[in-house]
Each structure stands twice: as C-alpha cells, then as structure tokens.
C-alpha cells in the first residue's frame, strides 16, 4: 500500500501535476457558465465536503458515518450568525466551521477509542444525537422548519445573483482544498497514513496515535464545516436534512465513487452525484436515496477503485512485472483501497 501510494505521488511528472492544477482551475472558473449557477455552487460545497471526508477515510483510514453532524452543525451556526449579526458571510461560514471543529473534539475523542466498524457506528450514533438536538431545540434551530432566509451579506457587493455568489464562494473552497492537500503532504499526513496502514507499529514508534487521529478528525470536521456553511448560505436555509444520517451516507458515496484516498477523486465523485441528482429531479424523479443506495451497491461490488483510481491506473505506465501476490493478502491493495487495519 505504501509503495503504491508513493508511486502514485512520485511518478506523476511535474508537467502532469501542473497540468492537472491548470485544468482544475479552468473547470472551476467556467463551471457556472456551463451549469445552472446554484448547482455549480452545490458542486463546490459537496466537493469540499467529500475531500474533507477523504482526508479522514482515505488518508487516516477512519470511516466516519456521522459527518452530517459537522456539515449540518456548521450550516445551523453559519445561518444563526448570518441571520443575527449581519456580518459578512465569510465570517459566518468561518464561525460555522469553528463550531464544527469544536463539536468534533468530544465526538472524536470518544470515537477514536475504537477503530474500524465501531468507529463508524459510534460516529453515526453521535451524529443522530446532534440530529435530535437540532430537532428538539426548535427555539434556536427552527425545528422542522429549519432556519430560513439566511442572507448573503458582503458589504459593498450584491450577492443576490447565484452567478456572482459562485465566485464569492470559490476562494473559500479553493483554500479548503489547498489546506487538505497541505495536510496530506505534510509530515503529519505521513503519520496519519502510517496509522491507517499499521496503527500498532506507529504506536510502537512512539507516536500518540489517538491524538493524531483526533487531530485529523477535527481538521476534517472543520473543512466539512466550511462546506456546510457555504451550502447553507447558497440555499438561504439550513434544515434537518443537513444533519440527517442520509447526508452522512451521501458524502461517503461521493468519496467512494471518486476513489478512496485519491483526494481529488472526491471532487469528481461529488460533481457526478450532484449532477446526477439534479438531472433526475429535473426529470421528475425525486428518489435520491435510491440513487445513492444504488451507486453504493454498484461501486462497492464492482468498482472499488472509484473513478479517479481507475483513471490513474489506466493512465499510469505499466510497472515492471509485479511481484507474486502474497496469498495471505486476499485483496491486492493496488486494486482495492485498504480502508483500515484489519
């Protein structure tokens, strides 16, 4: 796995990396011309959310099934700040993201005590608790109605047009993506990758593995919060849907569809799901859970490398004769991303 990862990072020549960056920025720049602008902004938000999620799943091996708590929690806090203070929406979104990170501290502290499947169940359960709190505390959150009429404040600029708002939101998303990439490439990111591959060995080397896990969990929650806050401002409301467990599932499917551990693949996965849902709802088909669930089943059974993983494998020059596979390792890690230590 480590070898595969190094090859992926190292073998991509400089011209290709800069080329990818240029293509990515060009797509980001023209997106609202090609798509309906609010949908383009949705792609930005979900894309950042999915990248933040892949930071945790693909680069630390932690499958959270409760990320709706951070996306939705931030959506509510962002909405409250924007509604009651009149501050620029950047401040509101930042406040929401900080709130998500603060929420992640106790949840993460408890969840990192278990790994693998337990981590998934624990995060899911705590996110459900956040859902119930949002539902019951209707004096603040609006309960079933949610928070409505969240303004897009920015002194001196009229953001009421969705097209303009896209370009106002873009820098936040780009900063978030740059932060995610910086974390993955940092010495800290190398340690979290090592924790994913062999937690016991990392502990034996003297690293406080749980503290690393908690840090990356909180960082992921912060970036998810940025995305959720922007989403709330984009739509002008924050509802219970944002903290619902299906939202947690949706970000998982985006990351898995894009390709676990590929970081940028998550952007592609998010864009594909948002586009698909938009296209289906235009055609009068509102069963979004059916789509999410169906994509889940197909991708997990047939397509575990995801879109990005498949593309890079096809583009990469064939490595010299592969070593004989170890029969004790049933899954070739290069073909199926390793989620956690078993």
């Amino acid at each position: 796995m480590i070898l595969g990862l190094m090859r992926r990072l190292g073998d991509r020549p400089a011209w290709m990396r800069w080329g990818l960056l240029a293509v990515g920025l060009a797509v980001a720049a023209i997106l609202p011309w090609v798509l309906y602008p609010p949908v383009a902004t949705d792609i930005l938000c979900w894309g950042l959310f999915a990248v933040a999620f892949d930071l945790l799943l693909g680069h630390a091996g932690l499958l959270s099934f409760g990320h709706a708590a951070f996306w939705g929690g931030s959506a509510y806090v962002t909405g409250l700040i924007a509604l009651h203070s009149g501050l620029p929406f950047y401040v509101a979104v930042l406040g929401g993201a900080v709130a998500a990170a603060v929420l992640a501290l106790p949840i993460g502290y408890l969840a990192v005590r278990r790994s693998g499947i337990y981590f998934a169940m624990i995060t899911l359960a705590f996110a459900q608790m956040v859902y119930f709190v949002a539902n019951q505390w209707s004096a603040v959150t609006g309960g079933e109605n949610g928070l409505q009429g969240i303004p897009r404040n920015l002194p001196g600029v009229d953001l009421s047009d969705a097209f303009t708002f896209y370009y106002a939101a873009l820098p936040v998303v780009l900063l978030g993506l740059a932060a995610a990439r910086r974390i993955v490439r940092s010495p800290f990111g190398r340690v979290t990758a090592a924790i994913r591959d062999n937690t016991d060995r990392v502990r034996a080397l003297g690293y406080p593995a749980d503290r690393y896990k908690l840090t990356v969990f909180t960082a992921s929650a912060f970036l998810s919060g940025l995305a959720g806050g922007l989403f709330a401002v984009n739509h002008g409301f924050a509802s219970l849907q944002e903290v619902d467990w299906t939202t947690s599932g949706k970000v998982v499917v985006m990351t898995v569809l894009g390709g676990i551990g590929t970081l940028w693949g998550s952007l592609v996965g998010a864009a594909a799901i948002v586009r698909l849902e938009d296209w289906l709802s235009t055609a009068g088909f509102e069963q979004t859970d059916l789509v999410t669930g169906g994509v889940f089943i197909v991708v997990v059974l047939l397509f575990r490398q995801g879109l990005w993983g498949t593309a890079t494998r096809l583009l990469r020059p064939r490595p010299p004769a592969p070593p004989t596979p170890d029969p004790a390792e049933p899954a070739d890690p290069d073909r199926t991303p390793h989620l956690t230590k078993r």
Binding site: I117, L290, G293, V295
Partner: protein, 288 residues
C-alpha cells in the same frame, strides 16, 4: 410507584425490539465480522410483510409471524450468497457500505410504493388488557415481551447447548483453528446470516400491530441499536441482549423524569461507556 413500574414495563417492551435486533446483529457479526446496516430495513420489511399478507392475502397475524421471518430468511441467505460473500475477503467496512446501500434502496422503494405515511395494521391477535397486579397492561405488549424473552433464551440455549451452537461459537472465536479441526465453517455462514435476518423480520412482524408501519421505522431504530451494541459489546451475544432491555428501560425512565433527554439518553450512555469501558460493558477488546 405504579407509574414508575408501568414505565419500566414500557421500557422492557421497547427493549424487546432492541434486544431482538441486537441479537441478530451480534450473531451475524460473530460469524461474518459484518455489521449489517440493512438490519433496520429488514425489520421494516418484516412489518410491511405482515401488512401486505393481511391486506392482500387475508392471512392474519399468526400466519405472518410464521411466513414473514421464513421468507426474509430466504431473502437474507440470497443476499449473503449473491452480494455479501463477494466482499468478505476484504475490509469489513466494504460490507458495511454495501448493506448501507441495500438499506437505502429498500427504504426508498417502499417509500415510492407506499409514500411516507403509516400503514394501518388491523390484524392484531389480541386486544384488551391483562391485570399485572399493580396495573392493567395491554395484552399484546405483554405477548411481545414474552416472545422476545423466549427467543433470546432459545438462541442462548441453541448457542451453548447444541452442536450447531458449538460450531458457530467456535468459528466466531477461532475461525482458523476450527477449520483446522476439519469443520467447514463456511457452510454455516449463509444459514447464520439468514437466521439473523429472520430475527429482524420477526421483530418487524411483532412491531406491526403496535408501532407506526412506515418506510422510516427501520432507520430510526437501527441507529439506536448500533448505540445499544456499542454499549453492550458487539462481540458478546449476551451483552447485546442485556443492553437492549436495559436501554429500553433507561429510555422509558428518561421519558418519565427528564423528558428533554428521552431521545438522547442512549447516546449519552454510549459516551459514558466509551469513556469508562471502550470495549463495551460485556465486550472484549478486539480489532474489527
């Protein structure tokens, strides 16, 4: 005092459902190392199965109690053979994702067909109340509790006193060693999965006469049951069942004394258990 006892009894009845679902989850997890997210959806299918049998075939509750779990067991075995088995060699989280997808699909298909409002079920086997000494209690609820306790005890006996149970426990604890003794552990995987699914279906049929039958009923329950098995320790069948009943009672008492915490108490308890005993009250530390 009477209201306290009555609330405790309500808790035992809702705990019956937690216990049946947690039992199925724990049995499946023990044998396959798979956490079946679709368990809640299968519970919901059980309830819908009872409604459909009653409405379209005119078959009453007792038929449903027999046929629906059997049908779901077959469906569960097919699901294991066709889908789950393909992923068992990989990280168990892939099966968690797969069953999550199955749950979403089942739930949305039923929502498409029946909408999201509740379906009436009018084939309840008994009405009326029984005198429990201090208070009268609906007879059907007493029946649900009795069935749940009986099933949990029966499974316990099956696991501890029979040869099949011994094989299942052995393949749960030491799969390689069991195979080394010449026992084909894979033979039992599919039937055990089917059995766990049948328990979810049974819980669903039992729920039909007393709970709202709609497409969301399973999702709401399964997340609570996840908290239950984290508290009890998923590796422990006994612990999961006990935690199921205990949390039913805790929630009921929460309803009575601190209504604001009625929905969140189970998660707070989970937080406390994770602080004090991360492996769960009855679980042992393991990598899963």
């Amino acid at each position: 005092m009477t209201s306290f006892l009555q609330q405790l009894f309500n808790g035992l009845v809702s705990g019956s459902f937690y216990a049946l679902l947690a039992l199925g989850l724990a049995v499946i997890f023990g044998m396959l190392r798979v956490v079946n997210f679709a368990h809640g959806a299968l519970y919901m299918l059980g309830a819908f199965g009872a409604v459909v049998l009653g409405d379209s075939a005119g078959l009453g509750f007792w038929w449903a109690l027999l046929l629906v779990p059997a049908a779901l067991a077959v469906a569960g075995m097919a699901m294991e053979r066709l889908l789950v088995q393909r992923l068992t060699a990989l990280d168990p989280l892939y099966n968690f994702l797969l069953t999550f997808g199955i749950a979403l699909v089942c739930q949305d298909l039923l929502r498409m067909k029946y909408g999201s409002h509740s379906q009436p079920y009018d084939h309840a086997p008994f009405s009326g109340t029984v005198d429990l000494g201090l208070f009268d209690y609906p007879a059907y609820q007493v029946f649900v509790l009795a069935v749940s306790v009986a099933v949990c005890v029966a499974v316990w006996l099956l696991l501890t006193r029979t040869r099949i149970g011994t094989v299942v426990r052995a393949s749960t604890e030491r799969p390689e060693l069991t195979r080394a003794f010449g026992i084909d552990t894979r033979r039992w995987v599919t039937p055990v999965f089917g059995f766990g699914v049948a328990l979810a279906g049974l819980a669903g049929v039992l729920a039909a006469p007393m709970r709202a039958v709609n497409s969301d009923m399973g999702a709401d329950l399964i997340i609570t049951v996840f908290a239950v098995v984290v508290i009890g320790g998923l590796g422990s069948v006994f612990g999961s069942v006990i935690a199921g009943f205990a949390i039913g009672m805790l929630q009921a008492l929460g309803n009575l004394y601190v209504p604001v915490l009625s929905q969140t108490s189970v998660y707070l308890l989970m937080a406390v258990v994770l602080l004090v005993r991360p492996a769960g009250l009855f679980g042992k530390e393991e990598h899963a």
